[in-house]
Assembly symmetry: D2
Homo-oligomer: 312 residues x 4
């Protein structure tokens, strides 16, 4: 039986994401994204669930960097869930009682306008996760130490889990925000292609010069492959050196993707394959006006014929 | 006299960066990157200093997004400073007394290994900035509330400012880290070209299709312009839509840069100019084997002649 | 009054082409394409008409090379005429009497199949032009030397001019062939743009390396300019060195064309401008999905604003 | 035993080229390039030798078009020979006696300046080949019909073969001219790679639009393949439709060439493979700074590993 881990504590969006895949299977909360990734690397867990990208805040550095360096890991599934926040408090506490609110800084960034309007005088107390703020209130409720704040901004899932009251729902400033989570695993078996897959890579360019990035991206364009995400990350200790975290349409077993990967392998300093997996982001695989998989197969048959001496 | 603001509180790296430019001029701390940017927009300040990029952690979302949307602002200067952390405590507190350490989560990410080795049992208490953790200890020292932790991880500058002892220096896991800060202003006058400048842009692609990003980047490659930074940021509420924050070599008054900007203006949905300013990142302007500014001038003279009917 | 010259003798397709522009104006036949071009260079003529391209045989080397090297000349007009051949003979001579046919080798190439079917035993006698073969029969008819053949393959226009009988019409193997002629002049005034123009260039690449040609062609693609013709020509004495004779949509006074020319000037060893002139080839100016001239004007206005310090 | 044919008559440069490969083997002269190509198609000959490109005059249309349409043929070898002309005459005839000179129009184009200087009053009599003009003089010498001219401009080889005197040597206007000949065959076996090979193609673009040619050429650039020749040819009956005759470095059995061919097959309307053969043009295979064959092999191995689930 696979052992699951997620970026905890209990009640995080990461747990909610993992639950959409594994249901009630036993799963262990880990205290940070880094530690979740490490748990998979060491074998303490077989699959770890961490956030990789938020539609408002952008990429999650710890996840992107964890996939870019260290022992290789691969994404075996993605989960996209809507991100909506509630203001939770201990039963009996009302909006007027709240002078301090706590949450993770990413969540705080997404509810600033609501707070400015509805709790203009409230102080902000940073927390290590949205769930941690809910848990602190729950601990206080259970007779533990004072949390140091009255309001927790967290997932509805977390308020429920911890027995807190919800004072306000859907308090996020931009409706419709989503977070994409990935389930990571040690390399082994690539998930079967489903016809609607994505492939993730990390690309380190060979040189810093005009055109090096374009030369790499041409490997996709030339083969009609759509990029769904590209994000630069610092590649080292100095400013100005980047690697690129890239998602593209298609599966490593597709001819077009295989050929693009080989092309990158030849022109880049390093390419790290980070997995092919069924897409779950609501997007559709785009091939534009480019060649289809059938065209790739036909071209291979044609070439095989030429090499055997047949007419063109 | 210009009014300066920085991402505070007093003692932040942002203040240290601003001081390298304005010395002891009066400058006001603002509680967040967003609020600093807003202070410049509203005219409460004329120039604001905020971090934009760290060599380990990558781009600073609040700054990148603040420049991408809302009323236009431009970068008028950049400052790069080495990032080094100290472990600071109230006088009389020793390493063995520390059970809880506090700092901003970005700083925490950069000293994890040191903490794991030297303070394996210490709990982490998030703070809104590195300077805030130092200030909390200073407040406690001055007879205020207990900070809730014994150790603050902050800039050497902040420990000094707040009269704290330094228990350990240079505790960052990767030596040589740097943060780049920008001084923002409302549009008005573009700084004069110095011969070694950078230009910042935000580019919104017109379509989601294979090749749209390459088509935009070709505008730089075709003119031999080096990109020094490219970073994707979410462009809206849904996953999969990005804008690109780009820095390139050169000044908007350079022929090559002007032409590339016009090219982008034609092929992109929107291009936002975010300033041309002297580079201070230790890099050199790279023109590769491409044409020089003289070549651009010569080409313009040649074209003018052709249009007037002269021989080719 | 302008002095006109054409690739003669009297009765050539070149004369027919010139007549569509200048009517009955006096015009001097010149014995070769080279000599016609030279007559314009020296000032013996102001305008010379020569063939540049045939839809079956391809480019006319003497014209392409005459425009690529030597003192600069420019195209001021183009004329496209259908190419149809007749078999002409002295009055009284029938098809059965013909044992030898004469024409220019390019014309011969276009009627081979007809000859094979209708005059299978006839020998081929090369001539310096199609009109020369008609003239030789006319000379014999007028009591001069024997022509050395009985049948001339020439333009209907030439048979008429020389009082010959037409034994067969439209004998070309491929119906619909066309030849494009150009009127050449010394540089001076560029014809006004008409909204449907072409621009001709000769491009010498800087280096022999993968990508040099693509880099040059990108100057057109990046600006959405359609190429209507590209033809390589030997650039020197050794095999493997080429220059490229290129026609593109648009006029040198168009922003997009001017910018592309400047781009080529910067990345190529040499670019020779060979004229902008109204298109007469039946094609339409194609701008694809690329930017329009209005987009170029808007981009220039935007850039001017940026440089003056206005908001983006 | 293979049956050889060449573009005749006896004494042409084509025969000289063929002899460098097959020595004194029996070989049949054929009256035109077209007929030589047809002889190979029908099986009347197994190998035909025809000129394809001259360093001064450019491509030979009959050969280029013969390879582009009709039943497929492939190049199995290339021969490059220096092109030098002599002025030949019957024994006893001196320079002062020459009032008419005869040769093929391509040869005539290459000696015009010499004739202008040394035989300014001489008339030009076109011939079907350089060797035909020598043969006509030889026939006259042997008591046949008068040739109709006194001087033949031909290869030294032809003057020798026909027992003529050489009145002047190396009369070509540009020293160092070369012609490249190809040996054609029906498809069957591709010559083994030698490590220094060329591959010939004919490419028909799918659409007439900005960028279609660049898109095709990118297939070479992306894989670091050097083009040694590119020549446009009319693709049909109307002006403005072209196909491209292309030579590139490398052999169809090379991974990089195979991949580029497949890429072209996918993005073009039609690609015709015209052979891989040892290069003999004095050029060197150029891989620029691009990937090597080893890089292609390594990339394939890496991809195979990924698909089998191994670490990246």
């Amino acid at each position: 039986m696979l052992r699951y881990a997620f970026f905890g504590p209990v009640g995080t969006f990461s747990e909610a994401a993992l639950r959409t895949v594994v249901g009630d299977a036993p799963a262990v909360p880990v205290t940070s994204v880094d530690a979740t990734i490490e748990a998979v690397r060491t074998g303490a867990a077989d699959v770890g669930c961490v956030p990789i990208e938020n539609s408002v805040e952008g990429g999650v550095p710890a996840t992107l960097d964890g996939l870019a360096v260290g022992d290789p890991l691969v994404v075996v599934a993605e989960v996209v869930i809507p991100v909506s926040f509630v203001l939770a408090a201990r039963p009996g506490v009302g909006l007027a009682d709240i002078t301090r609110v706590s949450t993770h800084s990413h969540a705080y960034a997404q509810v600033r306008r609501w707070l400015h309007t509805n709790l203009p005088g409230a102080a902000y107390v940073p927390a290590t996760s949205t769930a941690a703020s809910a848990q602190a209130l729950a601990d206080e409720l259970a007779g533990g130490e004072p949390a140091g704040f009255e309001g927790a901004i967290c997932a509805p899932f977390a308020a429920r889990t911890h027995g807190l009251d919800v004072l306000a729902e859907a308090i996020e400033d931009r409706a419709g925000a989503q977070t994409r989570f990935v389930l990571l695993s040690r390399p082994g078996v690539v998930p079967e292609p489903t016809g609607d897959d994505k492939t993730s890579l990390v690309v380190f360019l060979r040189e810093e010069r005009p055109g090096a990035l374009v030369e790499a991206l041409e490997q996709f364009v030339t083969r009609g492959i759509n990029l769904t995400r590209i994000e630069s990350r610092p590649a080292g200790d100095a400013l100005g050196r980047y690697c690129f975290s890239i998602d593209c349409d298609g599966h490593v077993s597709d001819a077009r993707v295989g050929e693009a990967l080989m092309g990158l392998h030849r022109v880049c300093e390093k390419v790290r394959f980070v997995g092919s997996y069924p897409r779950a982001d609501g997007g559709r695989t785009v091939t534009g006006t480019g060649p289809t998989e059938d065209d790739f197969v036909a071209a291979q048959g044609w070439l095989d014929g030429l090499r055997a001496g047949s007419a063109s």
